[in-house]
């Protein structure tokens, strides 16, 4: 074979070796491990069939963890998208002041989740926290925030929304700006009401953006970890334990590698299904262009 035939393969090889070693192969390794029992110390991995999956689906804890993850995801995605859309409609103006506000709402997105977690943990302190002072200002009773099973998961939702809503809003603004102006001119000529203009032009034209954000936010929220690990360690009494933290705990604290891998496969399937949606949609969008 001549160098010319080989050349493109040599060019893509470094990247593809990395992808195969650290992204593709680990998936298969994890699936294999999920059918074994292994405590990390013993040299033997015992084949146990689907025992890990049976244990997983019978576990009360796992059911709660799964439920927590779904609740967290639905709330975070719904709230952050709704608020972001409202903010985008409001802030989509060209004068400088709106640019400053856009920068402000975006800033949490580029800050490490470590900082965000520590900062909100401090503001949510039930005794000396700023948030209870704000509640007090409006004559509302103080909240136990992260320290009570009723409020801990919701507190994490608040942090998740605060972190991502600015990103979502700016993506919505980019979407709004790509809607052709003549559509609005035509609507104005027809004397369409503001609501009709929104429902008949803005919303449909924005639906690709909305769908993109829906998928991306859902996948990201499903993998929430940093806030859980730093702010609550899954507590109190498992009320904020979610999938990735659960896998991490079983792998690194309890050394039940097979069981943790089975939970990992469940996450893989969920993210995989959402990714297929994402790809279908992307293919469609490319097609229509």
């Amino acid at each position: 074979m001549s160098l010319n035939t080989l050349r493109p393969y040599l060019m893509v090889a470094p990247s593809l070796i990395i992808f195969l070693l650290f992204f593709i192969y680990p998936i298969f390794y994890m699936i294999y491990l999920s059918f074994t029992s292994w405590n990390l110390i013993s040299p033997d991995k015992t084949f146990v069939g689907v025992a890990n999956y049976v244990e997983l689906f019978q576990s009360q804890d796992f059911r709660q963890v799964f439920f927590n993850t779904v609740i967290y995801t639905v709330l975070t995605v719904f709230l952050s998208l709704t608020v972001a859309l409202l903010l985008a409609l409001w802030l989509n103006k060209s004068s400088a002041i709106y640019g400053i506000v856009q920068g402000a709402i975006f800033s949490p997105y580029i800050i490490s989740l470590v900082s965000v977690s520590l900062l909100w943990m401090w503001m949510m302190d039930p005794q000396y926290g700023l948030l209870n002072w704000v509640l007090n200002l409006f004559h509302l009773p103080p909240s136990p925030w992260l320290t009570h099973t009723d409020t801990a998961l919701l507190s994490l939702v608040v942090v998740g929304v605060w972190k991502i809503v600015g990103y979502n809003a700016l993506v919505f603004i980019a979407g709004l700006q790509s809607i052709p102006k003549d559509l609005y001119e035509a609507a104005a000529l027809d004397e369409a009401s503001q609501w009709a203009t929104f429902a008949r032009i803005t919303l449909p034209m924005l639906s690709p953006t909305l769908f993109f954000l829906l998928v991306v936010n859902t996948i990201a929220s499903f993998q929430v970890f940093d806030t859980v690990q730093i702010m609550t360690q899954g507590g109190p009494v498992n009320s904020t334990n979610m999938l990735v933290y659960y896998i991490y705990e079983y792998g690194f604290d309890f050394f039940k590698i097979g069981y943790a891998s089975a939970a990992g496969v469940v996450l893989l399937v969920i993210v995989g299904v959402m990714t297929v949606f994402h790809f279908r949609f992307m293919a469609k969008r490319v097609h229509y262009r």
């Binding site: 990395i18 390794y29 920068g103 520590l118 970890f225 990992g264 996450l267």
Partner: protein
């Protein structure tokens, strides 16, 4: 005279101020807390201005662990990843955009698959692999899995596809090597995309907590986010003034970069996501 229009303007400006406050004030609160003495953090209602400004909190935070080491590790890992990513993604993007070869579609499909597989799924098997190879407690598990970027290849390929074919043909007639064409013609044309990607990659890895947390278990290789998060595990309860001082060390470089290159950073994160 106050007209309805003026009233609406006032309402809107108040609204804008409130929104800005919700997103900016937590950072100001971080700063205020970082300058308080410990007793001042445990009063309710909270005090807005510290009695004496405790700049020494930064020193306390910095010296409560090997923070110079953490800082160096963070910088080293983020820069090493970026350099390796550029070295691997430029040839890959060039091949995917400009060469016809059997298996191209399949290999690009693999790249896109890697783009869609998050570290939260692969961390356990990758950690096990790394410890089997004896690489835990080195920089290798922090850097090597990120030495190639599917996202970068994807972005750069699109930008390379827009370079006019005549330009490349002309260079080939001048007997420029493919290597030279790649780095001297393609890369300069794609500079905005590379800047965008560089900002994205650096900020992502500077901030990253999850991967270094999972892949390190000794201070020698821990990064800054890990060190900062460990500040709260101090004996005798959390000293919030010290934790917030540490937090500032992590946040300030990013906020400075954000102030300097706000437009580019927003473009890096927002538009690259949409495209």
């Amino acid at each position: 005279m106050i007209t309805v229009e003026k009233m609406l303007k006032i309402v809107e400006w108040t609204g804008l101020a409130v929104i800005t406050l919700i997103f900016v004030f937590p950072f100001i609160w971080m700063m205020i807390t970082a300058l308080k003495s410990l007793p001042e953090t445990v009063v309710f209602p909270p005090e807005w201005i510290p009695e004496t400004w405790m700049w020494s909190n930064f020193k306390v935070a910095w010296s409560s662990g090997p923070f110079l080491r953490y800082f160096f590790n963070s910088l080293f890992v983020a820069v090493a990843i970026l350099v390796l990513q550029i070295l691997t993604m430029v040839p890959a993007a060039y091949a995917f955009s400009r060469y016809q070869f059997p298996g191209r579609g399949f290999l690009f499909g693999l790249t896109m698959a890697a783009l869609m597989i998050p570290p939260q799924i692969t961390f356990l098997p990758v950690f096990l692999q790394m410890s089997e190879w004896g690489f835990i407690n080195s920089y290798i598990p922090l850097i090597l899995p990120y030495a190639a970027s599917a996202f970068g290849i994807f972005l750069l390929r699109q930008s390379f596809m827009q370079v006019p074919e005549e330009l490349i043909e002309a260079a080939r007639l001048d007997e420029a090597s493919e290597w030279r064409i790649m780095w001297r013609i393609m890369v300069p044309m794609a500079r905005p995309v590379l800047v965008t990607f560089g900002l994205f990659s650096f900020i992502y890895h500077w901030n990253d907590y999850f991967w270094p947390l999972v892949m390190t278990n000794s201070d020698a290789f821990r990064t800054l986010p890990i060190g900062i998060a460990m500040l709260k595990d101090a004996e005798g309860g959390i000293a919030w003034n010290i934790v917030m001082a540490g937090n500032m060390i992590l946040v300030i470089p990013i906020l400075i970069v954000f102030f300097v290159a706000q437009r580019q950073i927003i473009r890096a994160f927002v538009y690259s996501g949409v495209k």
